[in-house]
């Protein structure tokens, strides 16, 4: 048997005459973890779609050689039968079904024409145990955290006897500790001889887990490198094709007076009125200040922001002061009127109107501003949208294009534009750079710095520690609905944040 389990040779794929991939070569050794890196739009997903048969053979040029045999996949089923399983960022689990049902969905063990559930659960348990994951296979999938769900998805792939596993941004919605579990898990898989293709924007993970890295840029292979001895700067250089001297444009600045203050803020859970979701939260933000909120998934960071913004229903107590004055915010429209803005974590769910045009998305939160007696002033609308399009350098074919046709980074800029147009004094940014590439991230940081300089108070929630460390004047760390500590820009480091985030006391 050859060393190479998979070779993709000279793959070229065009869309309406434009090459998304041109002569891409991608070779995977048996049993390795091979990372695939590149900016958004570099062609990673297209390459994986060619591999999995989403783009059937004939729609691209080039050869796929699997186990020394040339393969022609006409659809996803054929590639699955050949042992290739792709796990996408959006998980394909049926959340109302239990773990066992999901693992063997449509690959049931049968007995006398009926599904043999004892066997299904037994084998699910076995696969999970092999993966050092101890779960109850009869529990519904939605009751597990996203991290475990991801592992269930992998178990599902293994149940189908996959020997090449493609993971597309597997850690995008995982917390640091869940990421660690996944990493451990992938190393275990490697020992069993499963080959992994690992696609991620998070370069520290790539360096940590992979044996080799292939970098794509503008639909071409830049190169394949042995991971040992690489550093992030090198990878970024290969990905963007230029030097990014400083990843964070942070500068110390003169801060203004306190604009937003929260004191003894408690919020009860919506479904259980006796349980506190947020417990005795007190913090303040000054004019022009960037306050980072860090914490693990489920620590209540997002809930804090959404609740202060009037979006969550749970009963709340405590004081909120805006520009020194006591205030109550009971709905998002109220919050916007009072000068708050909210770039939410999940831009597809809470931020964008995907089927609507860029201009309609940008003005969506400013309708009162651009209308008179309820009638929208078209001139004003286009004028303002254009202004923010230029200011944020949103790359779009036109303002009338559907926002879903833009790349992730540009979509995020549209959401930012929407909120900048409301001219907020206090802006919440919940995971402002999730799932967007290095170049776009840097642009977003620049926008943040610019806003802060103009006096906007920014509250940034982020799971990415380097980002929190690199951009915040002050860092608040949360754990299980409480604030466990506060760190200044200079004293903060990863260890201190993780210590507080896992419930430790401030030393």
């Amino acid at each position: 048997m050859s060393d190479n389990i998979l070779e993709m040779r000279d793959i070229t794929k065009s869309f309406s005459g434009i090459k998304a991939l041109s002569d891409v070569n991608f070779t995977i050794k048996r049993g390795e973890i091979h990372a695939l890196c590149g900016e958004n739009g570099a062609g990673k997903s297209t390459l994986m779609k060619v591999l999995s048969g989403v783009w059937p053979c004939g729609s691209y040029e080039g050869k796929i050689i699997l186990n020394e045999k040339e393969c022609e996949f006409h659809n996803v089923r054929e590639s699955e039968q050949a042992g290739i399983a792709i796990i996408y960022q959006e998980l394909a689990l049926v959340s109302e079904m239990d773990a066992g049902e999901n693992v063997f969905l449509n690959a049931w063990h049968m007995k006398n024409g009926l599904i043999d559930f004892p066997s299904v659960y037994y084998h699910t348990k076995q696969i999970c145990q092999e993966l050092k994951m101890n779960i109850d296979p009869t529990r519904k999938v939605r009751e597990f955290g996203v991290g475990i769900q991801q592992l269930i998805e992998i178990a599902k792939a293994l149940a189908k006897k996959a020997d090449i596993l493609v993971l597309d941004e597997p850690t995008a919605s995982l917390t640091e500790s869940e990421v660690d579990i996944l990493m451990e898990f992938l190393r275990g898989l490697k020992e069993k001889g499963v080959t992994c293709i690992y696609i991620s924007h998070k370069l520290d993970e790539v360096l940590n887990i992979s044996d080799n890295v292939t970098v794509l840029r503008d639909g071409k292979t830049v190169g394949t490198y042995q991971t040992a001895g690489l550093d992030e700067a090198f990878l970024i250089r290969q990905m963007v094709g230029r030097e990014l001297s400083d990843r964070f444009p942070y500068k110390t600045r003169e801060l203004g007076e306190t604009v937003f203050e929260v004191e003894n803020y408690n919020v009860m859970k919506e479904d259980d009125r006796d349980k506190k979701m947020l417990d005795d939260i007190s913090f303040s933000v000054r004019k022009g200040e960037i306050v980072g909120i860090s914490g693990l998934m489920g620590s209540g960071r997002t809930e804090l922001a959404l609740s202060l913004f009037g979006f969550l229903k749970g009963k709340k107590t405590g004081n909120v002061r805006l520009r020194g004055k006591e205030t109550h915010i009971d709905s998002p429209s109220d919050a916007i009127r009072k000068g708050l803005g909210m770039v939410s974590e999940d831009r597809k769910r809470l931020g964008l109107f995907l089927d609507q045009s860029v201009v309609k998305n940008i003005v969506a939160a400013s309708l009162p501003k651009i209308s008179r007696h309820g009638v929208i002033d078209e001139n004003e609308q286009i004028y303002l949208a254009k202004k923010y399009e230029e200011e944020l350098k949103i790359k779009t074919p036109s303002l009338q294009a559907d926002v879903k046709s833009l790349s992730g980074g540009n979509q995020q800029k549209v959401v930012l534009a929407k909120w900048l147009m409301t001219e907020p004094d206090v802006l919440f940014l919940d995971e402002p750079t999730r799932g967007i590439d290095v170049g776009a991230k840097y642009e977003i940081y620049n926008i943040m710095m610019d806003l802060a300089k103009r006096g906007v108070a920014i509250i940034m929630i982020s799971s990415e520690l380097p980002e929190v460390l690199g951009m915040s004047d002050r860092i608040i760390v949360m754990h299980e609905g409480k604030i466990t500590g506060e760190l200044s820009h200079d004293e903060a480091n990863q260890e201190k944040i993780m210590h507080l985030a896992t419930g430790g006391e401030k030393q």
Partner: protein
């Protein structure tokens, strides 16, 4: 590279989107041509066309309201029952209460608004799914109509009331209306082009714009001539035109309309953007209730009686009209002109098949098949683009 590919695709998407709007009109014209042949031209005589547009008007009034409901991601199954019940209320007021026409119309519209409030309350403020609330309303108001009429026809109504459903504009007034529409059409087409150019959006060439305006003016003129050849433009058609223009403006140019599209597209994002979704949905059902009441008034006036089975299945016709006109039951997509053309398609099928003496059961079957095929074409054309 990918970026470019995506851009090209989205450009194609918009282009195809326009083509789709035109396929609807092409489909309508082909239906007409087929009926023209099968009825040996009777379909096209002024008397029949006048009847056709009058038949269209009731479904059109309902579908103009329904399309907002569908765009917002909701549904209203009760409009047929509301229409029947409100028609009954109007008839009772006129026949038993001897209320004059103006008051009868106003009170009936108020009843429609109250019914809309009832639905809106449960849907917006109590979060009961619209399907359930309006299915309940479908039964409740059908029941109320049965109670009201005791299964006998309530007739006859006053002359001035009957005119709402059976009257015609005098030819001169018809031409006046045509003039207004023509001038509006020319103004809007050119202004639309000018603003596109102003904001650097790809605009059609001057030639195309002139042709487009000329086509609309010619259509309005031909329509008026044909209607005047019979007895004039029917009053219900005037009502539909006024409503369609008003509601198109509301859909496209007002905060309210924009909010409805936003809610249908992504309700949570709309809420977080400060759109008061509950209030908007509440108001939307009130408008729907009033339009259903108006449809009831037109229906009762046209029949010169209120009956227990008035408005049966009208909700299905209205929903089908919206969907044929390009509205998506997933929400966020739909247009008022589309819904009106959809209503015209439904009425044309009824009218043409009646002329051909097709048995009644065939009409249901054909309409059902056309609905499915129309949506399939829509889905298939979207897939192709992607």
């Amino acid at each position: 590279m990918m970026e470019l590919a995506k851009q090209k695709k989205s450009f194609f998407g918009n282009f195809k989107g326009n083509i789709r709007a035109y396929t609807m009109i092409i489909a309508l014209i082909s239906i007409w041509v087929i009926f023209g042949f099968t009825t040996e031209g009777i379909f096209f005589i002024p008397r029949n066309l006048s009847m056709l547009v009058r038949q269209t008007s009731i479904t059109a009034i309902l579908s103009i309201g329904m399309v907002f409901v569908i765009i917002s991601g909701n549904i209203d199954l009760s409009v047929g029952s509301i229409m029947g019940f409100c028609g009954g209320v109007a008839a009772c007021l006129q026949v038993w209460g001897e209320v004059d026409t103006v008051w009868a119309v106003l009170i009936t519209l108020a009843v429609g608004a109250a019914i809309g409030m009832w639905h809106g309350f449960w849907i917006a403020y109590r979060q009961v799914p619209a399907f359930i609330v309006t299915l309940g309303g479908y039964m409740i108001f059908r029941g109320m109509l049965l109670g009201l009429t005791k299964s006998v026809s309530i007739a006859p109504l006053q002359e001035s009331f009957i005119a709402i459903g059976q009257g015609y504009l005098p030819p001169i007034a018809g031409w006046g209306l045509a003039m207004i529409l023509g001038v509006m059409a020319i103004f809007m087409t050119f202004k639309g082009r000018a603003s596109k150019i102003k904001y650097g959006i790809e605009a059609p060439s001057m030639k195309v714009t002139i042709l487009k305006a000329a086509a609309i003016v010619a259509f309005v003129a031909v329509f008026t001539i044909i209607m005047n050849q019979y007895q004039g433009v029917p009053i219900p058609v005037v009502i539909v035109l006024v409503l369609a223009i008003l509601m198109t403006f509301i859909a496209g140019r007002t905060r309210y309309g924009r909010s409805i599209y936003a809610i249908g597209c992504n309700a949570e994002a709309a809420q977080l953007s400060g759109i008061k979704d509950k209030k908007i949905i509440f108001v939307m059902y009130i408008v729907m209730g009033m339009l259903a009441a108006l449809a009831g008034i037109v229906l009762t006036a046209r029949l010169n009686a209120a009956t227990a089975n008035a408005g049966m299945m009208a909700e299905m016709d209205a929903i089908a009209a919206c969907v044929i006109g390009g509205a998506s039951l997933m929400g966020g997509v739909g247009s008022i002109p589309g819904a009106v053309i959809g209503a015209l398609v439904m009425a044309s099928l009824d009218n043409g098949m009646s002329l051909m003496n097709t048995e009644n059961f065939w009409q249901y079957i054909v309409k059902g098949l056309i609905l499915i095929v129309a949506v399939w074409i829509d889905i298939a054309s979207k897939k192709k683009v992607q």
